[in-house]
């Protein structure tokens, strides 16, 4: 096994001038990157991801997907910060902790507002992205599976909107949850039990809020992260679809002339 470059290098001679601090720092940083890359070979994957070609004619409509993913990341980050202050307690805790975030925590209302409005922005972006894929016919062969995963992600995003609704525990969240759970209940045969599962009982009870919190904070985000990863992998594997109005230039046919 080859030694890291640092150890392989000839020992500095005393006559050589010591490098200036910036150079030394750059050198040290590169060494660390080299060391990690040598063990993980991550640069191969990065090169595959970054330097693949995208077909010509890519325009701004193609950024909607990554913008949606970015909104998801923003939701994840602000959500983690909100979780630091939030208490999912029905008996006086949930509403008060959100009040506390809004009124007392430094930048609390700002982060809360980012999470709240980020949800709207993400839903708008996801619909725009879907419209782009639909009108460009980008869901057709070979990208059918990418679309299907995308629809699952849409459903999960709406489910995030629904489960996040309850958490501030104000009037609007309570009644929206009652209505939403009852909508699920109207599925024949299974509906009543789905409602019981969501509420953790026959009525809105002590564990309903913590159930919604767990679903909102762990179950759905985990699923979404995994599916986004798969969605991205498929995009890289299959390539970004080309705008449907473009036609490729046929390469010059090579005609071999054979002398008789």
């Amino acid at each position: 096994m080859p030694l890291p470059k640092l150890l392989n290098r000839p020992a500095p001679t005393t006559t050589q001038q010591s490098p200036n601090p910036v150079e030394a720092a750059t050198e040290a940083g590169l060494t660390v990157v080299d060391w990690i890359d040598e063990r993980t070979q991550i640069s191969q994957g990065l090169r595959w991801m970054m330097f693949r070609k995208v077909p010509k004619g890519i325009n701004w409509a193609y950024t909607l997907g990554s913008a949606t993913m970015f909104a998801f990341l923003s939701q994840a980050v602000t959500g983690v910060f909100l979780a630091m202050y939030y208490r999912p307690s029905v008996t006086g805790g949930a509403y008060e902790s959100i009040r506390n975030i809004n009124d007392n925590v430094f930048l609390g209302q700002f982060v809360h507002g980012m999470h709240k409005w980020g949800a709207s922005v993400m839903i708008i972006l996801i619909f725009l992205h879907m419209a782009r894929v639909f009108f460009f016919g980008a869901y057709k062969y070979p990208r059918e599976l990418t679309w299907i995963i995308g629809v699952v992600l849409l459903i999960l995003t709406l489910a995030m909107g629904f489960t996040g609704y309850l958490l501030p525990f104000d009037q609007r969240s309570y009644w929206a949850t009652i209505v939403g759970v009852n909508i699920n209940n109207t599925a024949p045969f299974l509906g009543p039990y789905i409602g019981d599962f969501l509420r953790g009982g026959p009525e809105f009870g002590a564990t309903t809020l913590s159930r919604f919190y767990a679903i909102h904070m762990m179950l759905i985000p985990g699923l979404m992260a995994a599916l986004i990863g798969f969605h991205l992998y498929l995009i890289m594997k299959l390539g970004i679809s080309a705008p449907p109005w473009l036609k490729a230039h046929e390469p010059e046919p090579v005609i071999e002339t054979v002398e008789v």
Binding site: A67, F110, K116, W117, Y141, P142, V151, Q171, R172
Partner: protein, 245 residues
């Protein structure tokens, strides 16, 4: 798409890809600019509108009017549109949304034609635009649905100050009396089973309105009791309704 069409597409695509540019930095630059725009939008919305918190949960309310966030308005409106066919309530709550989702989910499995250009896919174009128009319309009308416990019509012009005071008093009586359970008045109330009352004053004289209120045809309840116990409220109600030109 048959095998030949698939191969044709893959060949075409690989040619276009070869003519294209590398993902980094060309696409990444666009994505990054878009990410900055998204971030700035979210921050701006947060700074402008904050995160208002309504009153605390109170399941014993009888006056709260629940409304969803804007992105569920279309669903809210579907439920209201289907209000006059109670037999189909489960269709509205679970049937239509589930069918839409299944349709969306299976889209690439039933739309398998090789054509991608939207102008040559008339069915896809029509159904896509129709879906967008439907959702936009439902969201708009869902957003404009007022509470059935109050009226939000401006007083008609040309009223004296006293008449205007009676008008607003009548508004309150209408809100209290539950008229809008069955009648639409402006953007408030439900259209049916009763007829809309937004222009009732132009159709009926005040005396006719008063007599209908006292001796209505079923299923409308009689307000004769109101006329007996608080004639002032009843008079305000009648004058309000006859002002709705």
């Amino acid at each position: 798409m048959n095998q030949a069409e698939k191969e044709q597409y893959l060949r075409e695509y690989s040619l276009l890809k070869n003519e294209g540019k590398p993902f980094f930095p060309y696409a990444v630059a666009k994505d990054s600019i878009m990410a900055v725009i998204v971030m700035a939008t979210i921050m701006l919305l947060s700074l402008l509108f904050g995160a208002e918190l309504g009153p605390k949960v109170n399941p014993t309310t009888t006056t709260y009017v629940p409304r969803p966030d804007w992105y569920f308005f279309f669903l809210f409106e579907i439920l209201r549109v289907m209000r006059n066919v109670p037999k189909f309530t489960p269709m509205a709550t679970i049937g239509i949304p589930t069918l839409c989702m299944i349709g969306l989910f299976l889209l690439p499995l039933y739309d398998r034609g090789p054509e991608r250009l939207i102008t040559r896919r008339p069915i896809a174009l029509a159904s896509g635009l129709a879906t967008i128009a439907c959702i936009a319309f439902l969201t708009y009308s869902g957003a404009n649905t007022g509470s059935p416990n109050s009226v939000s019509l401006p007083a008609p012009p040309g009223l004296t100050a006293a008449q205007r005071a009676t008008f607003y008093a009548g508004e309150i009586v209408v809100g209290e009396s539950g008229c809008e359970g069955c009648h639409e008045i402006g953007s408030n109330g439900n259209n049916g089973p009763g007829p809309p009352l937004t222009h009732i004053g132009a159709k009926r004289a005040a005396a006719a309105i008063a007599s209908t209120l006292k001796n209505p045809t079923a299923p409308m309840p009689s307000f004769a009791n109101l006329a007996k116990t608080s004639p002032k409220k009843f008079a305000a109600l009648v004058s309000f309704l006859s002002d709705l030109q």
